[in-house]
């Protein structure tokens, strides 16, 4: 069965909805598109697809379009969609799953800097068990190339003593390292079932 998209006819991929359902544990086939999620969505005016469109695209199996969309990276996970859905679907939980899938499959992010920020943040957690904002921000700036953006804000925060030079670290660093190592293994869904996947850490 085919569906006509902006890029021409495409084969419907029913494996996609199965995978999203299994991993996110959200009943995405129950959606009847009342659009309460899209009306409440805080970022809908900035994304390429609105929450109920994301669900519709999953129902149609439009995996490639979704994994490269800006919507999955601009979702702020405020959970307004899930709180208001009459069918108990959290689109926010679904976007978490879609982002994981996009990273696993190496799909270039629709909003390049967002995953770069997450990576810088998690690297900071991995090295000290806690986030040290100044070094995390420098790492992110170097990766993203936005070196001088927000320079003034950074200086203002520094003057207020809000960007401490020395990091606070946990003595639990070995345990943190263990956690980061162990999450690389077999993945599990939001309801605890196993599946095979890679994590962002493995791709560095």
């Amino acid at each position: 069965m085919n569906i006509i998209t902006n890029h021409g006819p495409e084969q419907l991929d029913f494996n996609f909805i199965k995978e999203v359902k299994e991993r996110s544990c959200q009943p995405v086939d129950l959606c009847y598109h009342c659009q309460k999620c899209s009306v409440g969505c805080q970022v809908a005016s900035y994304t390429d697809f609105r929450p109920n469109q994301i669900i519709r695209m999953i129902q149609f199996g439009l995996k490639d379009e979704l994994l490269k969309s800006t919507a999955i990276w601009l979702c702020v996970n405020c959970e307004t969609c899930g709180a208001r859905c009459p069918n108990g679907i959290s689109v926010s939980a679904v976007t978490d799953t879609l982002r994981e899938m996009a990273l696993e499959e190496g799909v270039p992010a629709g909003v390049k800097n967002v995953p770069l920020f997450h990576q810088a943040f998690l690297n900071s957690v991995k090295s000290g068990g806690r986030v040290h904002e100044p070094t995390m921000l420098v790492r992110y700036k170097l990766k993203s190339g936005n070196l001088f953006e927000d320079m003034k804000m950074g200086i203002d925060l520094f003057k207020k003593g809000k960007l401490p030079l020395f990091p606070s670290r946990t003595k639990n660093k070995d345990q943190v390292k263990k956690i980061f190592d162990r999450v690389k293994g077999t993945g599990f869904s939001r309801c605890g079932q196993n599946f095979n996947s890679a994590s962002i850490e493995e791709r560095g």
Binding site: L74, N77, T80, G82, N172
Partner: protein, 283 residues
């Protein structure tokens, strides 16, 4: 009353005045806070946006420590609270997930501790009666809007401790301090803090909606319970808006007549002193 205290990374940097004021008002109310030894970062948005497993394992590590201490953790930052509470909910309601997390951490959960946001701990456990008794200088004439943000309200089944669409605890607290909480429609909207560094253009528009609504409601200040919201609302704003954003604990400290309040207010990115001074003069 005794709690475990999980400050989280923000309270050591951009949200320092939240940390200072929480410790001070707790002392004033005879609440003992024991900092969770060797706490680790909750992973925040970055963990749950990229790895479901990490998003449970990191906050759950802190629950393990709290269980060892046999104390309920009090978590001021809404993002940390959301992550710890979500992990607690997963562990307590789903045996499969509990086993998965136990094998990641190499531990066993007893499920005996209950994570609380600082707002919940003060308004429900300590209670408004005890808080009202401690007020020395009522904040009479101070018009505020209470901004709860998204992370203490949603997802409701896991994290909400009151009505997720129209929470009241902070409004009641402000009344108890003598301030006047105003009605507005943006209590649980999202300020976009998780995109603050990466998509500032979008965030300016999101904070703009909230700041404009606060001014339109006639508020002199916004009161919040989240260090990410506070920093975001004060730093990501276009020119011409000078409404300050307080942590609820700072206003408690002010109403209790605590000596350190000026030290907290000096940390703000939007100077709240003109408003504080006007209160002192009229009060």
């Amino acid at each position: 009353m005794k709690f475990a205290y999980y400050p989280g990374c923000s309270l050591e940097s951009t949200g320092q005045e939240f940390d200072y004021s929480i410790r001070a008002v707790s002392k004033a109310l005879d609440v003992e806070l024991v900092e969770l030894p060797d706490w680790v970062c909750c992973g925040s948005t970055s963990a749950h946006a990229t790895s479901h497993k990490l998003a449970l394992a990191l906050p759950a590590q802190n629950l393990v420590i709290a269980e060892e201490q046999r104390l309920d953790p009090v978590v001021p930052c809404s993002a940390c609270y959301n992550r710890l509470k979500t992990a607690e909910h997963a562990i307590k309601t789903n045996d499969e997930l509990r086993k998965q997390v136990e094998s990641l951490l190499g531990c066993r959960f007893t499920g005996e501790v209950q994570t609380k946001s600082a707002l919940e701990a003060f308004t429900k456990d300590v209670g408004l009666t005890a808080i009202t008794k401690r007020v020395e200088r009522k904040l009479t004439g101070l018009k505020v809007v209470c901004y709860y943000g998204c992370l203490t309200s949603r997802p409701p089944e896991a994290v909400a401790f009151e009505d997720p669409e129209n929470p009241q605890s902070m409004d009641k607290l402000m009344k108890a301090l003598g301030a006047e909480p105003l009605t507005w429609s943006y209590k649980t909207d999202c300020c976009g803090a998780s995109l603050s560094i990466t998509k500032a253009d979008i965030v300016y528009s999101m904070t703009g909606r909230i700041l404009d609504a606060a001014v339109e409601a006639g508020a002199q200040a916004i009161v919040t319970t989240c260090p990410l919201c506070q920093t975001n609302l004060e730093t990501r704003r276009r020119g011409g808006i000078d409404i300050p954003v307080f942590y609820f604990t700072e206003l408690m400290g002010l109403a209790f007549g605590l000596p350190d309040t000026n030290r907290w207010f000096k940390k703000h990115m939007v100077d709240p002193m003109p408003l504080v001074r006007s209160l002192t003069e009229t009060g």
